[in-house]
Symmetry: C2
Subunit: 312 residues, 2 copies
């Protein structure tokens, strides 16, 4: 039987994480985010987007909650089976996918503040009211425009601490998965300086994992506001802004070419395009043969993106 | 046997098309494009990029020539077999792919001038020195930011005339393929107002097709300079520029999510990333819920993109 009570508790946790994170960002911005809720046309899902655009501190971003339960389509099933899900193909359309999650991307205005992404979600596949599969997924990764090693260490330490509560073996495994997952193959470097990424976790009891999701989500307020405060008043040049836009071009490339969340979204029938494209930057740039000068801060960042580091 | 004499004639034609088009654009810009040549690391190919960036009339663009002959990889073969190529899988790596082509994208500064794309290429698959497959491919499509019906009619008329020389049945077929190919599925509208697109043509004798490629390529100078001259001094507002950048975001989405040329490029081992990303705009924008007002010129364009028209 589907355990609706557990779903409700996961949902409450996810909504709590959305609220805590949004409030911490609103405090930095000095004003409220736009609250935009939506419902699927077929009634089988809804979401709430907490959006900032053209802010003083944050140029564009969102902290989005979604809950849906939809019939499994062939393309959705394919995107799952690549990740090892066993679905009875004969009864494909009778399966349902339940998902509840929070997803955020924040692109700040000042290029000295890194872009941040995080998402935490719980998924179930059911067949005729019986739960067949369940898993937690999520992670967080940091995309600086200029390297601040202290930020990187703080970020990874907070994530490690949050994951250690469930299993001390998790952090090293999922830090490595993060480096693999956010690799921009065609450029030969990573989207950012890593973090953690876990796509499919059900090896511990679900209560421990729910508590871990909560810790990971809450840890946001221990790393990101601090980075914003540290860098928000740092001076920057036109060149710094240009580099920021070029790196945001790489972000767009990653999201459209490789990101499973985006692909999954674009494959979901009647998906909310505005929610799927929330992570897109307000402005991105592509220049012919833009190559940072050897020894420049931009070049130093690229060296780290090409050779992912262990930060702890 | 591979017919090297024919390859040389195709190459000369393609280079002639590159030259004619580049010169017509340089005349509009009032200065020369940057000429940037490159060679594949393995020596099995080279290219010449004629590039404009930050020009008075043209914000960014290129007219690129490429010639290469490389072993067929599994991923390249897959991208071909989807289009109906018969390749002996047992001897996959023994096959070679020969390709020669010209590819251009021009993003003008004034939003009243449309963006233009065209490419024309000849391909062969060989096995142990024997030609197994050959085909011509190419097309041209127009992406206006504001609709000018006269431009659309001129554009399609020139392409029809160029294709009619080979076969009067071609234009209606390949106009329709263009509308299908440049469809941005997740947005439910087309990248632009159509043109022609032919991915795999070998149903006529090769001399006729070579002549058609030449006509199509040369037809550029009959439509595009005229559009540039017509619109280059038209006034535009900040809002017009914003819409142009949002539409360029759609262009980026199309190229990274659907364009076979880009995918093919990203799959080609040791490909020249600068050449593959030449079509990317200098600046693109993504806004949360940007919806043009009913009855506005932006809205009128979207209506046409949603409902592709026959322009002749």
């Amino acid at each position: 039987m589907v355990d609706l009570e557990f779903r409700e508790r996961v949902k409450a946790t996810i909504q709590h994480v959305q609220k805590v994170i949004t409030e911490s960002l609103e405090a930095e911005e000095g004003s409220e985010f736009m609250k935009d809720s939506w419902t699927r046309k077929d009634g089988n899902g809804y979401g709430q987007a907490n959006i900032i655009q053209g802010g003083k501190v944050f140029e564009k971003g969102g902290v989005n909650f979604t809950e849906l339960e939809i019939p499994l389509s062939a393309s959705l099933a394919l995107s799952m089976s690549e990740r090892g899900k066993n679905i009875d193909k004969e009864k494909l359309e009778s399966h349902k996918l339940y998902a509840v999650g929070v997803s955020l991307v924040i692109h700040p205005r000042n290029p000295m503040i890194p872009t941040i992404h995080a998402n935490y979600r719980y998924m179930e596949i059911t067949l005729e009211g019986e739960k067949k599969e369940w898993w937690f997924a999520g992670g967080s990764d940091l995309t600086p425009y200029y390297l601040d090693e202290e930020d990187c260490v703080l970020f990874h330490s907070c994530l490690k601490e949050a994951m250690d509560t469930a299993n001390p073996e998790f952090y090293p495994i999922y830090k490595k998965e993060c480096d693999n997952y956010f690799w921009i193959k065609h450029r030969g470097f990573s989207r950012g300086v890593g973090g953690v990424f876990f796509d499919d976790v059900n090896t511990l009891d679900r209560e421990t994992l729910l508590a871990m999701i909560k810790s990971c989500g809450e840890s946001f307020v221990s790393y990101y506001p601090q980075m914003v405060q540290k860098h928000r008043d740092e001076p920057f040049t036109k060149e710094n802004r240009k580099w920021q836009k070029i790196r945001r071009g790489h972000y767009v490339e990653y999201n459209l070419c490789y990101d499973r969340g985006t692909k999954f979204g674009l494959m979901t029938p009647d998906a909310n395009l505005e929610a799927i494209f929330m992570p897109m930057p307000l402005a991105a740039k592509w220049e012919y043969k833009y190559i940072p000068e050897e020894g420049s801060p931009e070049h130093r960042l690229l060296e780290v993106l090409r050779n992912p580091r262990d930060w702890i």
